[in-house]
């Protein structure tokens, strides 16, 4: 059944969108991530312009992270003060990101920047994750106990001023790196149409030593906040959020996520990380290939307004 998307201005098959939402939701539920890095490229692939895709996916991620955050909240697996400080940075970063997005769009380089940031970010994060997962599995195969590497408890980050105690996470750390991480995630989210969970969680674990009990719940709160702000700002400045598209994706996404979460519990942690790393790497490589090979058509058209 075809449905006409009012902002994207193209008709698409509603079941295709639902299936895409469910598939990405399944993956996101399985790995505890937002799945924006899969959804945005998929939407671009079915013919929705990158700008509309990025802007609409932000509201889709807001929905899935809210449903996730609620269940983590009930399990008291969210650190409210850490989430709040992250959110301060996230708000700043998102505003900066949307402004950059608007600027790049007027310069005609938005598509390139989206593609480039996908390549850099996904291949590096995916590569590291894949490698880590592989090593963990190798170690487990050799019989050695899979010890979680816990390097020196004091790195340069712990020497920074403005320290604050985050009770539920049981960490005592400067707010500067926390706000910094928030800014980075907010910025990337707004420009690339991703929630950033797959970068945020490793950053929180390795840089701030946030325990695994609170890390996913807290990261979901940040994702929720940045994606809500991104939705608002994209709607206000670029008028590109397609609410119909977003709603279909949300419905598919939240449903898929539930089944994904169940599937995720049946797979061992390091295997899960290996799989996620592979997936992220694959998306990154796909974008890289697209940039390197000669495009089928060297010319593109884009409307620049003045329509009446």
């Amino acid at each position: 059944m075809q449905i006409y998307l009012p902002i994207a201005d193209i008709p698409v098959n509603i079941f295709l969108l639902l299936a895409m939402g469910a598939a990405v939701g399944f993956v996101s539920g399985m790995f505890g991530i937002g799945g924006g890095f899969l959804m945005t490229p998929l939407l671009i692939f079915v013919g929705i312009t990158p700008a509309v895709a990025v802007a609409s996916v932000s509201s889709h991620i807001a929905a899935s992270s809210f449903s996730g955050a609620l269940s983590y909240w009930r399990r008291r697996a969210i650190d409210p003060s850490l989430a709040l400080v992250l959110m301060i940075g996230g708000t700043l970063g998102t505003a900066l990101g949307v402004a950059t997005f608007t600027l790049l769009r007027s310069l005609g380089q938005l598509d390139l920047m989206i593609a480039l940031s996908y390549v850099v970010l996904l291949t590096s994060v995916g590569g590291v994750m894949f490698w880590e997962g592989l090593r963990a599995i190798m170690r487990a195969r050799q019989g050695a106990a899979a010890t979680v590497r816990r390097p020196g408890s004091h790195v340069w980050i712990h020497g920074l001023p403005l320290k604050m105690r985050f009770k539920r996470s049981k960490i005592y750390v400067s707010v500067i790196p926390v706000i910094g991480i928030g800014i980075l995630i907010g910025f990337l989210g707004a420009v690339m149409g991703i929630g950033g969970g797959f970068i945020l969680v490793p950053l929180l674990i390795y840089l701030l030593r946030v325990p695994t009990s609170t890390v996913i719940g807290t990261s979901m709160v940040l994702t929720l906040a940045t994606m809500m702000i991104a939705t608002m700002l994209h709607a206000m400045s670029n008028h590109l959020v397609d609410a119909v598209l977003a709603l279909i994706l949300m419905v598919g996404g939240v449903t898929g996520a539930q089944f994904g979460a169940r599937a995720g519990q049946m797979i061992r942690g390091e295997q899960l990380r290996l799989l996620l790393g592979l997936l992220i790497l694959a998306v990154g490589i796909r974008f890289a290939i697209e940039l390197v090979i000669r495009p089928e058509d060297l010319f593109t058209i884009r409307e620049t307004g003045g329509s009446q």
Partner: protein, 261 residues
């Protein structure tokens, strides 16, 4: 506007122009003057009907077989940018670009036989017969001009628009049902721009323009589509709030429906 009233209006207009001693009149009508884009819209085809009315001034030598018709449909105008990718630092990036000013978002030219067979190239150019001869203004540095038809950016623009079904040229689309009664289809693709469409019908005989007339139709979003599109444009803040609230609601509903504890 009913076809009948439109025909009457066209007639009045033409009678007013009768002083210019046109020997023929064109009477035309489109099958639908208001195409509505609904949730299940996936393209449509309109039909344009018309007839050539001769009068006493028509030269006796002019037989019906000598008539040629060119129908030009122009959609709402917008500024467009065509960009060209080049290989830089090993990757393909947009480098050069040209801006097309106020060009139609939809452009279709239909005729009953090839333009070359109808008129000399000079007439084709002056009357803008054919995609190669339609004026597409570009901004080239500080100048505004249309360029030669084989300009790389112009031809890429026309080619890409044609691939999307937005620009088309068909020199066998106009058919004469009787020597004076003609029809042509106007196919509208799914991703058609919203707005007013001008239809210009030109009658040629012996390689020169005899008369022309105009009509129009509009493509509008109605109901929900219209509502969503206008609120997104005009009330960005409220629209954003509603979308955000919708996201929260969906998330909350999901956590209730799938709650396991």
């Amino acid at each position: 506007m009913t076809p009948c009233r439109l025909a009457a209006l066209t007639l009045t207009l033409l009678l007013a122009g009768a002083a210019s001693a046109h020997a023929e009149r064109l009477i035309v009508s489109v099958s639908n003057h208001r195409v509505t884009v609904t949730p299940n819209y996936s393209g449509e085809e309109l039909v344009l009907f018309g007839s050539v009315e001769k009068d006493a001034q028509t030269p006796a030598s002019r037989t019906a077989a000598a008539y040629d018709l060119v129908v030009t449909v122009r959609g709402p105008r917008a500024d467009m940018v065509t960009r060209r990718k080049e290989r830089k630092f090993g990757i393909w990036i947009n480098t050069d670009s040209r801006q097309f000013l106020k060009v139609p978002g939809y452009l279709a030219l239909f005729a009953n036989r090839p333009f070359d067979a109808m008129a000399a190239s000079e007439v084709q150019r002056r009357q803008q017969l054919g995609l190669n001869n339609v004026l597409l203004t570009q901004r080239v540095g500080p100048d505004y001009a249309d360029v030669v038809p084989n300009d790389a950016f112009r031809s890429a623009f026309v080619r890409l628009q044609s691939q999307h079904g937005l620009y088309r040229e068909d020199t066998s689309a106009v058919t004469f049902l009787t020597p004076t009664l003609f029809r042509t289809g106007i196919p509208l693709p799914a991703a058609v721009p919203i707005g007013t469409y001008e239809v210009e019908i030109k009658l040629l005989a012996d390689g020169t323009l005899v008369t022309k007339t105009e009509t129009a139709f509009e493509i509008v979003k109605v109901g929900f589509e219209q509502f969503v599109a206008t609120s997104a444009r005009q009330n960005g803040f409220v629209y954003g709030l509603v979308t955000a609230a919708m996201a929260l609601m969906t998330g909350w509903m999901a956590s209730i429906v799938f709650r396991r504890d």
